[in-house]
Symmetry: C2
Subunit: 249 residues, 2 copies
């Protein structure tokens, strides 16, 4: 893009959502977000629209359950990709503070340049990043196998917002409990994870953080023992179904 693009007219009905996309576009020019990340964001927008662009009751319960899992874990790790860093670096810092989780950068499209740019962005916002030598430790083809031995590889609980289905399945196959944030209740990630939070990233992360601050140990145990991911998937599908029915009336 060698030329300045036009700016978004403030009278546009979807001004807020266009501005978020513009933030992602800027981050792409800095090498933090890849083009495919913008398409993934668009898919999320579509499902958020169908879910009503709000945190549903069942999503709030999922966020509380995620908080309980992070608090009770021996070695919780938050895996951050380019879109998450671009849209929610501050929210990741808050969640790290409230949960005590490690934070590791993990990218589908992994290059040294991106790893450094994303690491810088997160550290500027106060995130304490796990560092060390990465190695291809996950059962995946491609660069996606790489992670830190003391990070995701050693984790018992991993929060992977905006994950791709392959990596989610690989982490589960290693016996880890995987929490994902994914607006599509039909995606492989949503269907495979231990716990699926069907909510928009910048609403879900503060929801988990708040629960981390409030929950007692007993509440954590109770939330974890009653975790039923099929309930969360069904609830989201029912919300979408209702919205479709309303439109048909």
């Amino acid at each position: 893009m060698s030329e300045k693009r036009g700016t978004i007219p403030p009278d546009h009905l979807r001004y807020h959502s266009l501005m978020t996309r513009e933030r992602l576009a800027e981050c792409m020019q800095q090498g933090i977000v890849v083009p495919e990340g913008l398409a993934a964001h668009g898919r999320a927008e579509a499902f958020d629209y169908l879910i009503g662009e709000r945190t549903t009751e069942s999503a709030l319960l999922a966020e509380e359950t995620a908080a309980a899992m992070l608090l009770m874990a021996d070695h919780p790790v938050i895996s951050v990709n380019g879109n998450t860093a671009a849209l929610a670096a501050g929210a990741i810092r808050d969640l790290q503070e409230a949960s005590g989780a490690f934070v590791e950068v993990n990218l589908f499209h992994r290059t040294e340049y991106r790893m450094n740019a994303i690491g810088r962005l997160l550290e500027e916002r106060g995130v304490r990043l796990l560092t060390g030598e990465a190695a291809p430790l996950l059962p995946l083809s491609h660069d996606r196998a790489w992670c830190l031995r003391e990070g995701i590889y050693a984790a018992d609980v991993v929060l992977v917002p905006l994950e791709d289905g392959d990596r989610c399945a690989a982490l589960c196959s290693m016996g880890k409990r995987v929490i994902t944030i994914d607006l599509n209740p039909l995606s492989r990630t949503a269907q495979t994870a231990t716990l699926t939070i069907i909510d928009e990233l910048t609403r879900a992360l503060p929801g988990i953080t708040e629960a981390c601050r409030d929950l007692t140990r007993d509440e954590c145990t109770s939330l974890i023992s009653s975790l039923d991911n099929r309930y969360f998937l069904r609830s989201a599908l029912e919300e979408i179904g209702e919205r479709i029915r309303d439109a048909l009336d």
Copy 2:
């Protein structure tokens, strides 16, 4: 993006859809597609997934009706944006040949650089482009008001694939009959257009082209007189609702 990104692993389940996104990403690097176009593509992908990634029966009828409207128009114009040029330049050429419609480039993010890059791409694929002096002739704020006096401004029927809601409404308010291709039956564009084709761009355009080649004058008249856009919107919502119900079973 100063560094080469990793390539997509062929064992990835969504290889085809990742490759389409990669085509858009390449076109972005050439200035043909804007970052926001990638997000818009992602939204379309989500709805295509919900519609079953196929041309439904009602969408096929919408494509035949679109062909009838283009064939019977006095001054039909196809309005092409960056995503449409990137994904379907050849299909636009075929439709132009079969329908006799004019083709005009019309961009949300309008710059001379992009107008030229997109014009070149289309002409290389055999599209005959309408040229001339553009002026701000549409009732819209921003660069989006610009079009050709002999093109969209003079059109009685406009096909605008992948349109934004504001421009669709503006064209309708000028008394034009607007055909759109939009996978989201709830979007303002879909709700506002004279005829909404709820199908994926690269399936919909050949569908219209084929109908242009086959339809008789009488069939055209009959299709146009029985046009009921609410039927097309309802059918798509019912398809999505069914898919959601299937997932709940």
